[in-house]
């Protein structure tokens, strides 16, 4: 199991060995969706957000 740092909150997120580019991971602490943008080296970034009106 690989690991990557959540770009939002900084915690360590486990990544399956067979993860694919473009796959979306969810941080277990802050719930942020992380998109795998590179496999070597393993790199994630904030996944594109659909705009929503939660809380409006």
């Amino acid at each position: 199991m690989n690991q990557v740092e959540c770009v939002e909150c900084g915690t360590t997120v486990s990544v399956p060995d067979n993860v694919m580019r473009g796959e979306i991971l969810v941080c277990q602490d802050c719930g942020t969706e992380l998109e795998v943008i590179e496999l070597d080296p393993l790199t994630v970034d904030l996944a594109p957000l659909e705009m929503e009106d939660w809380g409006e």
């Binding site: 900084g10 602490d29 719930g31 942020t32």
Partner: protein
């Protein structure tokens, strides 16, 4: 006092056990494997079986209420009477048990003058104030270990204090500003004595400003944080039986990243058994909510922060009868008597 081994348990009494806090204490202590509840007093209900007043205890105990005049010596005595009554007879209670845990407001403040200002009358036993340890383990754990006399906590004070604790401890919060705590509370905070204000046609459905300035729990929070922190508590009664939801409106430095706040909160709360960081980008339950905490000893903390301006709301939710009263008191019992801190407090809540 030494914890007895084998089948022996510490004997526990509850003085003033017919209120909501007493009922919650009993619910927890009757399933605590280190203690045996041996006596529970009520002047109003003396002679009655406990479940006659606390129906959720049916089938769990054969105890009946007794008058406090019939109290016998025991290992630990919980005092769960209305404010003002414990201080009036504290010498007698201390003579009955080597360990006292008072859930009222009588011994939370260390200073007699501060008590007089907050509660509007002189304390009846001011020499005892310094003998009590403030009973919030998250900020006072070391002092609670092996303490003999422990005060309870104010439910609203606890919510405000835990909401503020991480940024204060982490040095992110400048004391030179008003800290405005908007606190929404349920009806059980008012106790089980009916009043015109609690009458169902008058209480149901309310969003009723209760006390927006000068709340007496402000002194409890200032005592814990330091008087340089200008804590102001505004309480509103809402449609809820159990629960406290605090949002403390403050200004933090602008330009912080989310990971800065996460680091601050993790530094304060990692390893704490009953404080959870709730700050999530997904789902319905993104912030602390009291409804999810009913019957538990958890306090959930979180935040909302605007990096452009630094404006922030620091959040905490808890059950006023649980973490805000009886749950924390049992947590203190565990620390005082050398039990595992989480003993008897494992209930995790329910949903929906």
């Amino acid at each position: 006092m030494t914890i007895r081994n084998g089948s022996d348990r510490l004997t526990v009494g509850i003085v003033g056990g017919s209120g909501y806090t007493g009922g919650e204490l009993l619910r927890l202590l009757l399933h605590h494997d280190g203690v045996a509840v041996t006596q529970v007093t009520s002047e109003t209900h003396a002679g009655a079986p406990l479940p006659q007043v606390h129906p959720h205890l049916r089938g769990q105990t054969d105890l009946r209420f007794i008058s406090r005049q019939r109290l016998a010596p025991c290992d630990v005595l919980f005092l769960a009477m209305p404010h003002g009554q414990a201080q009036a007879e504290i010498e007698r209670y201390a003579g009955l048990a080597p360990r006292l845990i008072d859930l009222s407001a009588d011994f939370r403040l260390r200073d007699a003058d501060r008590y007089t200002r907050a509660y509007g009358h002189a304390h009846a036993a001011p020499a005892w104030l310094e003998r009590f340890v403030y009973g919030l383990p998250e900020i006072n754990r070391d002092a609670l270990r092996d303490a003999c006399y422990v005060s309870g906590v104010g439910c609203n004070a606890t919510a405000v204090l835990l909401a503020l604790w991480a940024p204060v401890r982490g040095g992110l919060l400048d004391a030179g500003q008003p800290l405005i705590a908007d606190v929404k509370v349920g009806s059980s905070e008012a106790g089980n004595t009916p009043t015109a204000a609690s009458h169902h046609p008058a209480r149901s459905g309310v969003v009723r400003p209760f006390q927006l300035t000068g709340h007496r729990h402000e002194d409890e929070v200032r005592q814990a944080l330091g008087d340089s922190f200008d804590v102001r508590i505004a309480v509103t009664s809402v449609e809820m039986v159990r629960g406290v939801a605090a949002a403390v409106h403050i200004t933090l430095p602008a330009g912080l990243a989310e990971r800065d706040l996460w680091a601050c909160y993790r530094a304060a709360w990692t390893g704490e058994p009953f404080v959870r960081i709730v700050h999530t980008a997904q789902g319905l339950h993104r912030h602390p909510e009291p409804r999810l905490l009913a019957g538990t000893n958890y306090a959930d903390v979180g935040w909302e922060y605007d990096p452009q301006t630094g404006r922030a709301a620091l959040l905490c939710a808890l059950d006023n009868l649980g973490k805000g009263a009886a749950g924390t008191a049992v947590q203190c019992l565990n620390l005082m008597c050398g039990f595992e801190e989480t003993t008897g407090l494992s209930f995790g809540g329910f949903f929906p």
